[in-house]
């Protein structure tokens, strides 16, 4: 674990200012590059044979915004439709979500719209949602037009960028854009204590009570 979070954007050293902790979840069809985006953001790497995700994976990364240090707790979920029912467990309580599609595959864009709809209906009302059209390096195989996605994003109040985990294009930018949009002072409680701040809540047992409807692998 030594390599964790030692590349990518770093705090700029000035330890002054607030520390905010946010829970961010990645959603989207399988193989659109969710794990690859996280890996690029957290470790600055790209694995062409990135393993598929089963259940979910977790990473953290810190970025600096002016005088605020923003720590992302990133939940990378499994894309296969069957794992859908696990998703609420991860997006519940999340302050931000990145919905990813693959610009070279129209179906994945459709699926992304589905996720947006579900988040807007069921996730926290204040959740910041970003739409990422990944694999922008595959311009020659493009199936989803930039404008189409852009228009959709505007209509639904989403942040939007085309990204490429392979070339690193817009990867840090999209996380930074999210960090900017997240409320940093308005939240109750002192920003300094990340663990107990209302904005940075980890998944706790309460999220997994059977009564709450989270069911595994359904």
């Amino acid at each position: 674990m030594a390599a964790r979070g030692n590349t990518g954007p770093k705090p700029n050293g000035s330890a002054q200012g607030k520390i905010c902790q946010f829970k961010l979840v990645l959603l989207g069809e399988s193989a659109v590059g969710k794990s690859s985006l996280v890996l690029r953001f957290v470790k600055g790497q790209f694995h062409e044979y990135q393993e598929s995700t089963i259940g979910a994976a977790f990473m953290t990364q810190t970025v600096c915004l002016d005088d605020t240090t923003v720590k992302f707790e990133i939940w990378d979920t499994a894309g296969q439709e069957r794992y859908h029912s696990l998703a609420p467990m991860y997006y519940r309580g999340a302050q931000a979500a990145i919905v990813v599609y693959d610009i070279s595959n129209q179906d994945t864009f459709g699926r992304a719209k589905g996720w947006v709809k579900e988040l807007q209906r069921q996730a926290s009302p204040t959740i910041v949602i970003a739409l990422a059209g990944n694999k922008s390096d595959l311009a020659s195989k493009r199936m989803v037009e930039y404008d189409e996605a852009q228009t959709y994003a505007e209509e639904h109040g989403l942040l939007f960028m085309e990204t490429s985990a392979k070339t690193a294009m817009n990867v840090n930018d999209i996380f930074l854009a999210i960090a900017k949009k997240l409320p940093k002072s308005g939240g109750p409680g002192p920003g300094g204590d990340a663990g107990s701040s209302a904005t940075g809540r980890r998944i706790t047992e309460a999220d997994n009570q059977p009564s709450s409807g989270a069911s595994c692998c359904k």
């Binding site: 089963i54 977790f58 998944i203 997994n208 595994c216 692998c217």
Partner: protein
């Protein structure tokens, strides 16, 4: 004619030869359509190699091994023989050799090529120097796979084959070898033409135009073709052959006059100009000129035996396929008149025979009775390394990188002025691998060691050297490097597999020590009880029709264990897809969940040449270990599995459980990929192989214990980590010592009462055999099957499934009454003479009875203490210590079993908490004093509501007896042992 069958599979008078070539490089930075790097050509070749490794024909040099070196270099090991047809040709003995001998040679060649064709392989590389002969005069085709390996030459930058033998249509298009449209037809017909040209040389002992360059040769050939074409009558044009023109042009007319019409017809069929009308190789093999040599039907029947209902037999009937069963042996073909020329042949073919005689020291003789693959496996263990061998003879040279730089590079990435690397040029040279080092490592082995008998293995007193017996005690990694030990294990498993399925129980027993890596695929199949006609089963499944699952399978395969060269090869991807589709298609009740790919990987990797067996193993494995996991709605199954896992952690490591529970690090967040893929998504293949070697010996519940073993190994980190750290730890699994993990898991498994692992969704298969092999040699084992068998108690002593909700809400496991009896060491075989009353049985368990005093006094489990519910409640209210609990303090380290009445479940849970809470303070002797203060403080904070109970959980092992059982226990006739107070 000495026992051919025995000799046939052995290396015998063959040697191991190694050759090397390099695959062509992709230009730097080139990407596939998915934007990802292209699969290196060398990896494509490796994937294509495996089918060659499985070929078996008496006239083929067997392929043994191929590996990938640096810079796209491939190193290939095959069987080789000392003489080539080229040498015989150069000795100019063909002319004097009787026709029958030459036809025999031709027959061997044609039959082998026809066999290759039947396996979908084109030779294209026939030439005299690639045709070897063994000491008995049998033809052995060498290097016959190069064209197939390189995907018709596309993957290498050198030409393949002897241009003088090429058919006209190939010569005219050879500049474009990979053009798929034209190539197929031309290629399949080309082998027949090659055979024709080669036959002419063999029959005449002359080359057509020996003095001509390749260019001039081709010009001559085209002239001949043109004349023949013009001369033929228009009606027969398509059948036109070049035989007459060719021999005339080459001045070989005098030979052809002596030949029978049959021979001429054979040659004509080969040398038809139009590829569509040329004979198929199979037709050539059936030609009348070969009637005398045609093999008895043994081989083909062996083949049909395999294809028509091969039941899984781990050791194939390769022996039959290899036996020399032709009616006429090579030497017989010479007849009386050919004595003299036969002697010359003999001197060439057997020039090395004397060496073999000399080497006849004991062990080497027996070593050579092993198959080439086995010998090579041992050769590597004995320190053999292909790269080193090639360097020794200068076939691989290291050039300092500085000398490889281009003179000029453009910013666009183009390079100029690079010297052509001679290292990469094709060199046909063959390096014989010396077995001396291996021989010397094995010299102390007695000949008897090579032939272990079944009953010797069964009694574990095989004829093996002392050192092998000693080696069993060494760590696995060392054993796997030990030549002598591995030879021993190989021989044992080979012997056992030959007797499968009758030897299955001995295989299970032997596998407990370790599994020979050489025979792992077959041993796993036998452990999984694969026994059906795997090939027919697999054939019958529809693997082709597109389904909705295909997209997911297609995106998962290129992400699954791709560091492995075979799994990363295109051949590997195709096989992968077929097996996964076959599994989904043949299990309509199940669906494809991401993760099935990882699960399939070890089986495909081990059975790369045997998809059917890989599929059979996968199916059996899932049925046994993952019943219900691949249901469309697998939620109840997985939830129950995870709840059981959670209980198991609480049972074995309460302290860790408390910590993880407190920080909310629940199995749902990290353990789904562990169990759904049986750890294949978590570990790289080499580790999985070792883990599964043992996992396959366990019952369906064993993988749960592996999970606890894993946590145990990371215990210190986990205990000190926060939630985030814990989850990060498992997002990227740290280094795990698998052997230790396996040992720990087995230890946990052995000390777990079976009912703790009870799951309602567990596979309903009989594991009477399975239960025994992780367990039976343990005197202290709690699973004492015999005791309970004799008891034949009411089913009520068994555990009953709990509803999922209660399973999840309880923190420690329940056990069955039967397990309590076992824990108490009651040997029920003699219930009349139980432990004498009053004498508390020396067990690891303390039963705590929570029923009211009156009930307790009527009858109870001996050795149990009574802490009625009321006392518990009082205790909750009073901060003062109750004397009732002193007994619990004394019982630290024991398993506490709470015994109560039906319906007390809430209270029962409460007492478990209290007891564990109080007892835990004493669990650590060293810090006794400190701990004694600690509880008071904690106790003071403690709120006695049911909910908070669960937050202070057990730091000692504890278990709840399924409460309905108590009444049965007491109603049973064992009053002698009960209620003596």
């Amino acid at each position: 004619m000495v026992s051919f069958v025995r000799r046939s599979t052995s290396l015998d008078d063959a040697a191991l030869g190694a050759s090397t070539f390099t695959a062509s490089l992709h230009s730097i930075e080139s990407c596939g359509s998915d934007g990802l790097p292209l699969t290196p050509n060398a990896i494509k070749i490796l994937g294509r190699f495996e089918v060659l490794r499985n070929l078996s024909h008496p006239n083929l040099c067997r392929y043994v091994h191929m590996e990938r070196g640096k810079h796209e270099r491939l190193m290939c090991v095959t069987e080789t023989f000392s003489a080539t047809l080229q040498e015989c040709f150069d000795a100019e003995i063909f002319e004097a050799t009787p026709m029958k001998v030459k036809l025999k040679i031709l027959y061997d060649i044609v039959d082998a090529v026809a066999y290759l064709r039947s396996q979908g392989i084109l030779h294209r590389n026939l030439r005299l120097s690639n045709i070897m002969l063994d000491a008995r005069g049998n033809v052995k085709l060498f290097d016959f796979g190069l064209f197939h390996l390189t995907d018709s030459g596309c993957l290498v930058s050198f030409p393949i084959g002897n241009i003088e033998y090429f058919a006209p249509e190939v010569l005219s298009m050879s500049h474009k070898p990979c053009d798929p449209s034209y190539a197929y037809l031309a290629n399949t017909a080309c082998d027949a033409w090659i055979i024709g040209m080669l036959s002419l040389e063999i029959l005449t002992g002359r080359r057509l135009w020996p003095e001509l360059s390749a260019d001039a040769f081709c010009i001559n050939l085209f002239k001949v073709v043109e004349i023949a074409w013009l001369n033929s009558s228009s009606r027969m044009k398509s059948q036109t052959d070049v035989l007459d023109e060719l021999v005339r042009a080459a001045g070989l007319d005098r030979y052809i006059e002596e030949w029978s019409d049959e021979i001429k017809s054979f040659l004509r069929q080969c040398l038809v100009i139009h590829p569509n009308f040329r004979a198929e190789v199979q037709e050539l093999a059936n030609h009348a000129i070969f009637t005398d040599f045609r093999r008895l039907t043994v081989r083909s029947s062996a083949k049909t035996m395999r294809s028509q209902g091969r039941h899984f037999l781990p050791i194939h009937l390769e022996a039959v396929g290899n036996a020399d069963t032709s009616t006429l042996s090579f030497w017989n073909c010479f007849g009386e008149v050919g004595e003299e020329i036969a002697a010359i042949w003999r001197s060439i073919l057997q020039k090395n025979a004397s060496d073999v005689e000399n080497l006849d020291s004991n062990s080497s003789k027996h070593l050579l009775q092993q198959s080439p693959k086995e010998v090579f496996f041992l050769w590597q263990l004995a320190g053999g390394d292909l790269d080193t061998e090639f360097r020794k003879v200068g076939l691989i040279r290291t050039k300092p990188p500085i000398l490889c730089l281009p003179r000029l590079g453009l910013l666009e990435g183009e390079m100029f002025g690079m010297e052509r690397d001679k290292n990469r040029a094709y060199n046909k040279a063959l390096v014989e691998l010396s077995l001396d080092q291996l021989r010397s490592r094995l010299q102390n082995l007695s000949p008897r060691s090579y032939y272990p008998l079944l009953d010797e293995i069964e009694k574990s007193d095989g004829p093996f050297s002392e050192s092998s017996k000693e080696a069993v005690k060494l760590p696995l990694v060392i054993r796997e490097k030990d030549v002598e030990y591995q030879l021993h294990r190989m021989l044992v498993f080979k012997r056992l597999l030959e007797g499968y399925p009758f030897t299955r129980s001995i295989i299970l027993k032997e596998a407990r020590n370790d599994i020979s890596p050489f025979y792992r695929a077959e041993v796993w199949a036998s452990l999984l009880d694969v026994i059906s006609d795997v090939e027919a089963d697999y054939e019958a499944v529809d693997k082709e029709t597109p389904t909705a699952t295909d997209r997911q399978i297609e995106v998962d395969i290129p992400r699954c264990h791709q560091y492995d060269e075979l799994l990363a090869s295109p051949t590997g991807h195709q096989k992968f897809k077929r097996i996964l589709k076959a599994w989904v298609a043949s299990h309509p009740q199940y669906v494809y969940w991401q993760g099935l790919d990882s699960l399939c990987a070890p089986f495909l990797r081990l059975n790369f040449c045997d998809e059917a067996l890989a599929f059979a193993c996968l199916s059996k494995f899932i049925d046994k270990y993952l019943a219900g996991f691949f249901l469309k709605d697998n939620s109840p199954v997985i939830q129950e599995y995870l709840a059981t896992f959670s209980h198991l952690i609480a049972f074995h490591d309460p302290q860790l459980f408390n910590h993880l529970d407190e920080i909310g690090f629940i199995p749902e967040l990290y353990a789904i990929p562990w169990f759904l893929t049986m750890y294949t998504h978590v570990f790289p293949l080499p580790k999985i192989l070792h883990l599964w070697d043992k996992l396959l010996l366990g019952p369906p519940s064993f993988p749960l214990c592996v999970g606890v073993g894993l946590l145990h190994q990371l215990r210190d980190s986990l205990l000190s980590f926060s939630f985030n750290d814990c989850i990060l730890l498992f997002s990227d699994m740290p280094q795990i010592d698998i052997e230790r993990c396996v040992q720990d898991s087995i230890r946990f498994f052995r000390s777990t009462p079976p009912s703790v692992l009870h799951r309602s969704h567990e596979a309903k298969i009989s594991f009477k055999v399975i239960g025994e092999h992780l367990v039976d040699d343990l005197p202290d084992m709690v699973h004492s099957a015999s005791a309970s068998d004799k008891l034949n108690l009411s089913r009520e002593l068994e555990i009953h499934a709990l509803p999922l909700a209660s399973l999840k809400s309880e923190k420690c496991p329940r056990i069955s009454a039967k397990d309590l009896l076992d824990l108490l060491n009651w040997h029920m075989g003699s219930p009349e003479t139980p432990t004498s009353p009053g004498e508390s049985p020396k067990t690891k368990v303390l039963p705590v009875d929570v029923r009211p005093k009156e009930e307790f006094q009527k009858g109870c489990v001996p050795g149990s203490v009574n802490i009625p519910l009321q006392v518990v409640l009082d205790f909750e209210q009073n901060v003062t210590t109750s004397t009732e609990f002193d007994v619990l303090f004394a019982a630290r380290g024991k398993i506490i079993v709470v015994v109560g009445n039906r319906g007390n479940s809430g209270a029962v849970r409460g007492i478990v908490c209290i007891m564990n809470f109080t007892t835990s303070q004493l669990s650590n002797n060293d810090h006794l004093a400190r701990l004694m203060k600690f509880p008071i403080r904690r106790f003071a904070n403690w709120r006695p509501s049911t909910e908070s109970c669960s937050n202070y959980l057990l730091e000692i092992k504890s278990t709840v007896l399924k409460e309905t059982c108590i009444s049965y226990l007491i109603r049973l006739k064992y009053t002698v042992t009960f209620g003596e107070n």
